[in-house]
Amino acid sequence: MSNIVLVIESALVIGGIGLMVGIVLIWASKKFAVEMDPRVEEIEEILPGANCGACGFAGCGDFAEKVVGEVAAVSDCPLCDFEITKEIGRMMGKEVTEKEPEYPIVLCNGGVHCIDKVEYVGIDDCRAVMMISDGEKGCKYGCMGRGTCVRACPFDAICIGDDRLPHINKNMCKSCSLCIDECPTGVLVMAKESEKTHVLCLSYDKGKAVKAVCEFGCTGCRRCVKACPEEAITVTNFLAVIDQEKCTNCEKCIEECKQKTIRTANHTTGVEATA
């Protein structure tokens, strides 16, 4: 009999504590309620959720908050495709125009075709290599090929190929440009998808010096300047530069370039094997 009393007593005490605590919590949740815009959660739900930080905010949740607070623009997420951006725009009551996709390209053809001036043994990272007299390569402008961009990419879209150059897989790239921020040499740049023809070299060295170290470097020979029907190419400091506004992708310069410096954008699609 006393057992039953004990059980009922315990149940009452614990239940009582629970009830009290519950009431206080309900009161507290009303009293300390924080006004949250429901759109924040909705937007966060359709965001990619990669938390890569490419938008410049601390993760997708923060970005959603900033969009609703009108600190960030609707189209600031580089990962969202147009459909998602449009959906966010609809929630925010804003018109969104489609942006042309951009992918990073490597402005260097060197890799194994560019001689090494020293044998480097040390930390396997471009930034470490750069610290020692402009790197191990004969050319100080080119890609170091040590994979800093590979490690910076949160989507595994970059790999260093057999030619010791980064290859960007277009299908996996989300255009977040984190690799470009990390690259110490500046050979990685964003290029619009329609801009196909590029001078894949950044060397300001004189023609002879370039030829001495690299098979495919730009010598500033001006053949492309003459070949271009649109007058889109200029050579300054022994380096050809294509004005992408004028370029029509006629590929006449590619045919004319003796050094094979000018090429179409060098993206992979993940089908070909590069390791």
């Binding site: 315990s10 504590i17 605590v21 206080v24």
Partner: protein, 195 residues
């Protein structure tokens, strides 16, 4: 046992009976949140805070409710309710009053709800029959001890990032190795304070 002096309780909690490396309580948060010093700091702050609050609340519940009804066998359940309640309440309050603190502390608060270190403090308080002041000091001491070891391990793990660790013991196992070293160091405090 209630006539232990406060300084002894303080030193006991921080060093001699350190909750993490001597009693091995609260290991989940210990290993989970020590990848970076910044988050270890946030977590420790939250733990210190909740430990003190829980010590106070548990003392009140134990003395005025459970003892009165002679239901001391219910301590564990009652404490779990109280700790969960406290954590939730604290979360509400700081979310409203200081969003900045909420952002740095808030994500760790739910982790604490079921942290055995917290429950350990209040259960020990009851078992050793500490008075109110002693309970609070024990809570503070346990919190400081926790913070100390959290910061130690976080600093060590950050440095260990650059080490070449065999693949089989990378990550958590390696952290356990470091923990063992710390535990061995802390064992030397045994007997420093005569009991």
């Amino acid at each position: 046992m209630a006539d232990v002096n406060l300084f002894t309780i303080l030193m006991d909690g921080i060093f001699v009976k350190n909750f993490l490396v001597i009693q091995f309580l609260g290991l989940c948060s210990f290993l989970g949140v020590t990848k970076a010093t910044e988050s270890a700091k946030g977590m420790s702050m939250a733990v210190v805070f909740v430990m003190v609050m829980a010590s106070i609340a548990a003392f009140v519940i134990n003395t005025y409710i459970l003892r009165t009804f002679g239901l001391t066998f219910l301590t564990t359940i009652a404490y779990i309710i109280v700790i969960a309640f406290l954590v939730q309440l604290v979360e509400f309050v700081i979310r409203k009053n200081s969003p900045g603190l909420y952002r740095s502390l808030g994500i760790y608060l739910p982790l604490i709800t079921t942290n055995c270190a917290i429950l350990g403090v209040v259960v020990l308080n009851t078992r050793l029959e500490y008075t109110f002041v002693q309970s609070v000091v024990h809570g503070i001491a346990a919190g400081i001890g926790y913070t100390l070891v959290m910061l130690f391990l976080a600093a060590m793990r950050e440095k260990a990032e650059v080490l070449k660790v065999p693949t089989s013991i990378q990550g958590i196992p390696h952290a356990f190795f470091i923990t063992t070293m710390y535990a061995m160091a802390f064992v030397n405090y045994f007997g420093v304070i005569p009991t």
